[in-house]
Symmetry: C2
Subunit: 346 residues, 2 copies
């Protein structure tokens, strides 16, 4: 199917874009009243994730309502852990968590390798439906969590202030950690391949907890698994995003990926200098900027664009949009990017 | 009084040190059973902070028990806010928090400028006592929170996942934010000058939440206030530590400070390249390394030292030691640094 708006894909592939494509991490869900209406009609978050028709519906909402240049499939990074046999739950306010966590190598050995066919069917079907309903209006992004981030969730049970349990595993039982990382990686590759086969035009891997590691530990516990994933997905562009992984920008950019996601701590010009010209950058507005006035949003967005430049660039936030953000401000951000006249840049 | 062990001061001033000095952020308190015994004999954390004899006692404990090369006065960064009229409380597990937070410019206008004489007398007295009891064994470090970090605590009430409230203030009421930052800065300068007058041999400013800002926002909301503080303290060395502020290393090093603290995300060699040769570096072991085996701690510590080099360097963790760390492992870290033969380095 030919895409009517393929700006995102062209930017990802390094082709010329006459204007800058824009989407937001976490755009599907949370901020839109239309999303909350759908969710309220179901038993909760998990039923929504596991009901393909409804997941497709909320995936498309931001394309209709916010006018973004891409859809991203509605799901959660924890589905991979669930596909491996570790069930997650979702609580309002608290977020997703695992009632039972990984505590020993025996727990790790019990986990299975999840497959698209047997374990992630609902997301794969949601992608098929979304592609059909989108009818080529914009590209559809598939995604998964990075193995290191999944390990943290599976060991801690949820977020953490110090990630002591995860790091105890890495630093005192590294063989067990690597076994778990490999099982997650194998599951993730099958999952992402399934997403691409079902129609995902691009995939993004989120390493949300990258920032808790030292550069050396990241090279040992995350980069090798990101490499396996990037190498395995060879027919659509791959975006790697490591929140807080400023120290790994060069390593990540050298993997077989087309786009590097950046957060607002990372100076765009410095990032470009570090990674060189042959990769597309994505990001990186502080989500809290969207709490400011329309004028403030414009100033900050335009300043960001001037730092990134108009080519090999996909505008986004530097993290998922926060739940209490006014959708009108999100729309103003989207429109500010889309109305930016790239001829004003050198 | 002449110091018997002045390694820390010599390192801070850029003088030759025949071995590497070492101390740990949060070494006073938390991890030591001897500390918990003192605390249990009082009504709680605040009584300990506000009882000079006992604060001095727990300040000196890690010098006796762990053999560190410096003492750091036992206190809390929130005392400055309390001295300005905003009372904090301390709850086991939860940590310190403000029952009433700053919500408007009126709240900010009501705050007073805290002074060493009127508002921080208990810490000043604790420093006097500590100096007397220490009797020159090791230098004593005074400290305060950075104005930006204090603002975050005073606005959020405690820690936060997104720091939305603080950033709403910065991004939509920046004049109010600057007024608050200036009042905190004025209070902090008087407090630190009082600490130095009472005998602190070096002072450290902790910008614990630096990492939540973009480089531009940090230049606007933190650097100018750190500059005022660094300029005001001119008779003892000043250490600036911005957790997560990798992007501000150059800006911070250019201030009137002698030591830059670094966390474990920051590669030592890269940091040295960014800041140049004329400043001392401090840090940066991941506190979680101390969960590993003695052998692992040695490997990681020696590798860290090799990256920093033996001169203009103070060994430390990259963050405060975590409460559940085994004191024997802390001691092993200290001894590993102290037994490192610097002649093995080029």
């Amino acid at each position: 199917m030919i895409l009517k708006n393929d700006l995102l894909l062209r930017a990802a592939k390094g082709e010329y874009t006459e204007r800058i494509p824009v989407w937001l991490m976490r755009q599907a869900g949370r901020i839109l009243p239309e999303y909350r209406a759908v969710r309220a009609s179901l038993s909760g978050f998990k039923e929504l994730v596991e009901t393909p028709e409804r997941a497709a519906e909320v995936t498309i909402q931001p394309v209709d309502i916010l006018g973004v240049d891409a859809a991203i499939i509605f799901s959660d990074i924890l589905v991979v852990a669930e596909g491996m046999g570790l069930t997650y739950e979702m609580e309002e306010k608290k977020g997703p968590f695992f009632p039972k966590t990984i505590e020993s190598i025996e727990d790790i050995k019990k986990l299975r390798i999840g497959t698209a066919e047997n374990d992630f069917g609902y997301t794969i079907e949601a992608i098929r439906i979304t592609k059909k309903v989108l009818d080529g209006r914009v590209p559809l992004i598939g995604f998964a969590g990075a193995p290191f981030t999944l390990l943290c969730y599976m060991v801690e049970g949820g977020g953490s202030k110090t990630f002591s349990k995860s790091k105890k595993l890495l630093f005192s039982e590294s063989a067990a950690a690597h076994l778990l990382l490999q099982k997650i990686t194998d599951s993730t590759i099958d999952y992402l391949k399934g997403q691409v086969a079902a129609g995902a035009d691009l995939v993004q891997v989120f390493d949300s907890w990258a920032g808790i590691l030292s550069p050396q530990a990241y090279e040992e516990f995350s980069i090798p698994y990101l490499k396996q994933i990037a190498d395995a997905i060879d027919n659509v562009p791959v975006t790697l995003f490591g929140k807080g992984a400023f120290f790994a920008r060069k390593s990540m950019a050298e993997l077989n990926c087309q786009v590097l996601g950046t957060d607002w701590n990372m100076d765009p010009k410095e990032t470009r200098q570090i990674v060189g010209p042959n990769i597309t950058l994505q990001g990186n507005l502080d989500p809290c900027v969207l709490y400011g006035s329309h004028q403030f949003i414009e100033e900050q967005t335009n300043s960001m664009i001037k730092s990134f430049g108009s080519q090999r660039y996909i505008a986004n936030l530097g993290h998922g949009v926060y739940p209490d953000t006014d959708p009108l401000k999100v729309k103003h951000f989207v429109e500010t990017v889309q109305s930016f006249d790239i001829r004003t840049l050198n």
